[in-house]
């Protein structure tokens, strides 16, 4: 199984006056996850398939929230690496919905314009949203090409792309929702939508 990143011994000082005492309550209210129940058993970190790619294991992020370390929690990579596979919450003895905490932290990071812990993953999500905005559905080829254009990694994964193309798994033309006006409305504030 995966090895968990061991937290390095650190002499970092936590300045109590800098802690955000409302942070945990706020995250708890928005995520409905009841994170106060976490007693740091670390089971979530043992089961997580993605823990190697994270800077803090899931229980570490919960600890940051419990301590009120707002900036560290919102700027970590973990919240972006999590794919909501729910392995952690199925193993959590207190059945805390950990993925819901990650969802909430991601939203807060974007709202507060925090430094994004993994820009590439966010860029990918934005490409998917771009596709939904344009077609009402996701167009895989378009998403892949634009993602490559924006990240500049043209030669990464070319073989996979070509194999998918030859198997006709990537449609050239996007399938599109007909009532696009209904989709467009979701991407604009109501007062920007053209009146009937």
């Amino acid at each position: 199984m995966n090895s968990q990143p061991m937290p390095a011994k650190t002499t970092e000082v936590i300045n109590i006056s800098e802690l955000d005492h409302h942070f945990a309550t706020e995250v708890d209210r928005r995520s409905q996850a009841d994170l106060k129940r976490c007693y740091q058993c670390r089971t979530c970190g043992n089961g997580c398939p993605f823990v190697e790619a994270m800077d803090y294991p899931p229980y570490g992020v919960i600890r940051l929230v419990q301590f009120g370390m707002r900036q560290k929690a919102l700027e970590c990579a973990t919240i972006w690496v999590c794919v909501s596979c729910h392995t952690c919450s199925s193993q959590c003895p207190n059945s805390i919905d950990i993925a819901a905490i990650m969802d909430t932290l991601r939203s807060m990071a974007l709202e507060e314009r925090a430094v994004i812990g993994n820009k590439e993953i966010l860029a990918f999500h934005l490409e998917v949203l771009h596709s939904i905005e344009r077609y009402g559905r996701t167009h895989k080829l378009g998403i892949m090409l634009r993602h490559k254009l924006l990240t500049g990694q043209w030669f990464k994964d070319v073989d996979v792309g070509l194999r998918m193309l030859t198997k006709r798994k990537l449609d050239l033309v996007a399938s599109k929702v007909r009532a696009m006006d209904e989709i467009n409305r979701l991407f604009l504030p109501y007062w920007r939508v053209k009146p009937r």
Binding site: P49, F50, E52, A53, V81, V83, S84, C85, H86, T87, S89, S90, S95, D97, A99, A100, D103, R106, S107, L110, E120, I121, L122, F124, H125, L126, V128, L129, I132, G136, R137, T138, H139, K140, I143, M144, H147, K156, D157, V160, R163, M164, K167, R168, K169, L170, D171, S175, V177, R178, A179, E182, I183, L186, F187
Partner: protein, 293 residues
């Protein structure tokens, strides 16, 4: 519910099943035709929001799912193939059930009613309602001891927000074992395939996929059968292990057992060619009489 009613569904394919995994869609259609299930695709459906909308703007995801629900007629269950879409649509519906104000707001937004009693079911649920005995009677061939891993991935069972909802654990094995397959379950068959990280962190997903396939090889399986189109793709494209196994969509294997004629067209679209295995097991070509399970 009377049995006639339970065989009518409206159908939400979702983006992957409709495009990248078209073979999954085609084989589902064949299964429904052969079993006499009436599927009516939702008129002008849109993306459920995928992981991305829920990652960056949960409200947008909610609205996208709610539009789909506003398109579903209230008098028949909504059948969904993709576990992620199922999760999002169910979650959205549950939220509107618990808070009628949210439902009314969405009804006003779309100008269409949303039934609070709408049932949202996975394809496996449709098969359970159809009945295993009837399914066995409809089979055209025996799966001849094909050793399969029932690979569920992560989303069909686990979402904690839906923990009081119906789950379908072990249904794939129940059905395919009845049709003559042999289930190999001591594998990583519920481990996450890596989901969208396949596009951004391929090296990470490769190591997960190799673990999953490796566990299937070690357990002596011939192939994996998945209920999720994204898992199917990730398991195929991200595997770098020396020994690869064919990865089937559940509907493909089912259609094959039920005697569908156009299987070859689906199998061509696979990146790991499943035809040698099927030929070896005598599962290609027209079914011979006397082979029924």
């Amino acid at each position: 519910m009377n049995p006639e009613e339970s065989l009518k569904f409206s159908y939400y394919p979702g983006c992957s099943v409709a495009t990248t995994a078209a073979e999954s869609n085609h084989s589902l259609m064949q299964v429904c035709r052969l079993l006499g299930l009436d599927l009516q695709e939702l008129e002008d459906w849109n993306c459920c929001g995928s992981s991305s909308a829920y990652s960056v703007d949960p409200e947008l995801g909610f609205n996208l799912s709610a539009r789909n629900l506003s398109l579903a007629p209230g008098d028949r269950p909504l059948l969904v193939m993709c576990p992620r879409c199922l999760h999002h649509l169910r979650h959205t519906h549950l939220e509107m059930q618990q808070d009628p104000r949210k439902r009314r707001a969405q009804e006003r937004r779309w100008g269409r009613p949303i039934s609070p009693d709408l049932e949202i079911v996975h394809f496996l649920e449709a098969l359970i309602r159809f009945g295993l005995d009837r399914l066995k009677k409809g089979a055209a061939r025996n799966l001849n001891g094909l050793k399969f891993v029932p690979y569920y991935g992560c989303t069909l069972f686990r979402p904690p927000a839906l923990r009081r909802q119906k789950y379908y654990q072990a249904e794939v094995e129940n059905i395919l074992t009845a049709l003559g397959g042999v289930a190999v379950t001591r594998t990583y068959n519920q481990r996450c395939c890596g989901s969208f990280l396949s596009a951004v962190k391929p090296e990470l997903v490769t190591s997960l996929v190799n673990d999953i396939i490796g566990s299937a090889v070690a357990a002596g399986a011939d192939c994996l059968v998945t209920t999720c189109a994204m898992c199917q793709l990730n398991l195929e494209v991200r595997c770098t292990a020396a020994k690869r196994l064919p990865i089937f969509h559940f509907s493909e294997i089912l259609a094959l057992a039920l005697g569908a004629k156009d299987c070859q067209g689906w199998f061509i679209r696979h990146l790991v060619n499943p035809r040698p295995l099927l030929k070896d097991r005598g599962l290609l070509g027209p079914p011979r009489l006397g082979q029924v399970p």
